[in-house]
């Protein structure tokens, strides 16, 4: 309890008759990167908007940095930085003015505004654009500027709502780097995404949310392990004997013959089973020529827990982008 910097209990939210958030409950520990992974309309932004005090708490409780969101909204606002899902930049202000305005909004002193703006422009590589109007920035630059703005006040917690939505693959990778850097500096990060790879790559812990409910939570590692579908691929000097040998192990669910080697479906954490299997095979005098362990992807995890693919075009976009990025 002591190291939880965000505590949410039994949070529900209705828009009219639509229950957008349904008894959501989770904790985020100080210093971690925590993600909400879910498809469009899952209720991610609604939860964020409640936590950052833009929406009233209808039902349930939330504490942020030790302050009750319902009772001390001002204190909460002072402890957080926000990057909204949609762009929220004044098109007619320059990059510098955007940051200066934000610093003033939060009553930063003149000196700390100046040094902070310099620091942040370097961090997000926008020094050259200091005096450019935001309407003349590219989408990725705008996003980086918004991230810089979210960091202006050195918040304890940074909320990022779909930080890489609509960015090209290179910019996404860059943005991930910034997020990791910021986190390494001690800022706790709460982010939402519908990109599996993003949640997987960035998060210390993930909650999968769908239709307003948290379906499961854990480290990316945990979530994948819980599926119990690790697959070990082996090529040995004697596949037949290997198959007979390890087929008796309790952790082994089934074995498939492949063109060259064998595919072993593992019950539980494959990384823990693999060394023992190798040992056994070698003891039997069989040579191991190749080994490969494949963990399930976040996509597999998502399908497993929700019973379907992420339903919207978001996934398709993400996939096509990655494909495009590889070419």
């Amino acid at each position: 309890m002591s190291d939880a910097i965000i505590e949410v209990r039994n949070l529900s939210h209705w828009y009219g008759h639509i229950k957008a958030v349904d008894s959501v409950q989770f904790e985020v520990k100080k210093g971690e990167i925590f993600s909400f992974l879910g498809p469009n309309g899952a209720g991610k932004s609604t939860v964020i908007n409640i936590l950052i005090t833009l929406l009233p708490i209808q039902h349930g409780e939330a504490r942020i940095a030790g302050y009750d969101v319902a009772r001390d909204p001002e204190k909460v606002r002072d402890s957080i930085g926000i990057v909204f899902q949609e762009t929220t930049l004044d098109r007619d202000m320059t990059v510098y003015e955007i940051l200066e305005f934000h610093g003033r909004l939060y009553s930063m002193s003149k000196d700390s505004r100046r040094t902070r703006i310099d620091e942040l422009l370097t961090l997000v590589e926008l020094e050259a654009k200091r005096n450019t109007l935001t309407k003349h920035l590219s989408g990725g630059m705008k996003r980086r500027l918004e991230i810089a703005r979210g960091l202006m006040t050195r918040p304890t917690i940074l909320f990022l709502d779909e930080p890489t939505l609509g960015l090209d693959p290179q910019t996404r990778l860059k943005t991930w780097e910034y997020i990791k850097m910021v986190n390494a500096d001690g800022t706790t990060i709460f982010l939402t995404t519908h990109y599996m790879d993003e949640a997987d790559h960035l998060s210390d812990r993930i909650s999968i949310i769908d239709r307003g409910k948290i379906i499961t939570s854990g480290t990316p590692w945990d979530l994948k392990n819980r599926l119990g579908e690790d697959v070990i691929y082996m090529e040995t000097t004697d596949d037949k004997r290997t198959e007979a040998l390890i087929g008796k192990e309790t952790e082994v669910r089934s074995i498939k013959r492949k063109e060259r080697g064998i595919s072993v479906m593992i019950q539980g954490d494959g990384t823990r089973v693999l060394p023992a299997l190798m040992e056994k095979v070698r003891e039997a005098g069989i040579g191991v020529e190749a080994v490969n362990l494949k963990k399930p992807s976040m996509d597999d995890v998502f399908v497993h827990y929700t019973g379907r693919q992420i339903r919207d075009e978001g996934l398709v976009q993400s996939v096509t982008k990655q494909v495009a990025g590889k070419e």
Binding site: E74, I82, T87, T88, D90, D92, F101, R104, L105
Partner: protein
């Protein structure tokens, strides 16, 4: 945090000076009115009214001078009524979210935009006054420098409080609306009656009684009385009508505008407290 409204003010002024076209277009209308309507009407009215005897020692002013105050008022009215439109832009571009989610108290948003609106009005008043004087508007006639200074302070006080009242009003409407068209509609609906049922272009003494009553509570009428008091004098004749204002009358006009501004401020504060931006 006490200076939060200055942040909002600073930002609004940046935008104002960056887009000077806004300043020019807001000045174009009163300039055209003065140059065409004013000069044309003056040449007629002054001919008719020159036949109306003014008591000996009475001070008579031309029509252009008379309507000069009305033009200052019209400009201030328009600029102030549009003052809240920034909130509609901010809602559409999402900037409202940044501000609402910040620790800045919402009243500071209203005050900041109010002050920037007042500043804009002051700039416009100065330009219109200079332009008018060049055209033949006889403001500050025979005033020694010190009195001109006092007169300017008086005019700014009236323009300022009037502008605040209408900016608060416009902010309250804008923050409650979804699109600029709605605000546009309200403005169109309001400006005509406010402008024509006031003493901007003609005396109100001979109005039918209900129009007279309306113009008596019209903030525009009170602001124009104040401007004329300071720019022309407390006792003069125009269009055959005797204008005579005692300081208590002017003070009560001013207080009326203060009440108007306070009421619209409370209205805006209430509307802002209800705002939910997501």
């Amino acid at each position: 945090m006490q200076k939060g409204f200055l942040t909002v003010y600073w930002r609004d002024m940046i935008r104002f000076f960056r887009y000077k076209s806004l300043l020019f277009s807001s000045l174009l209308q009163p300039a055209l009115w003065l140059a065409f309507f004013g000069v044309a009407m003056a040449s007629n009215f002054d001919r008719y009214t020159s036949g109306i005897p003014v008591p000996p020692g009475g001070f008579s002013i031309g029509y252009l001078t008379f309507m000069g105050a009305g033009m200052i008022a019209m400009t201030t009215l328009f600029t102030s009524l549009y003052g809240g439109i920034i909130f509609l832009f901010d809602k559409n571009w999402g900037l409202m979210r940044e501000i609402i989610a910040s620790p800045l108290p919402r009243t500071h948003i209203i005050i900041g935009v109010g002050l920037s609106g007042v500043t804009k009005s002051f700039i416009q008043v100065i330009i219109i006054t200079i332009f008018g004087i060049l055209l033949g508007v006889q403001f500050f006639l025979g005033y020694p420098p010190l009195q001109i200074g006092i007169a300017l302070i008086g005019i700014f006080a009236f323009v300022g409080i009037f502008a605040l009242g209408f900016i608060f009003f416009s902010s309250a409407i804008a923050i409650s609306m979804e699109s600029p068209e709605g605000l546009q509609g309200v403005i169109t609906l309001l400006t005509m009656p406010l402008f024509f049922v006031s003493n901007a272009l003609y005396p109100i003494d001979s109005f039918p009684s209900f129009l007279k009553a309306f113009s008596g509570i019209n903030p525009l009428t009170h602001m124009i009385s104040g401007i004329r008091y300071f720019a022309i004098g407390s006792d003069f004749y125009a269009l055959g009508t005797h204008y005579f204002n005692t300081p208590p009358q002017i003070v009560s006009s001013f207080m009326g505008l203060v009440v108007f501004a306070v009421v619209t401020f409370l209205l805006a504060r209430w509307r802002f407290s209800k705002v939910v931006v997501t």
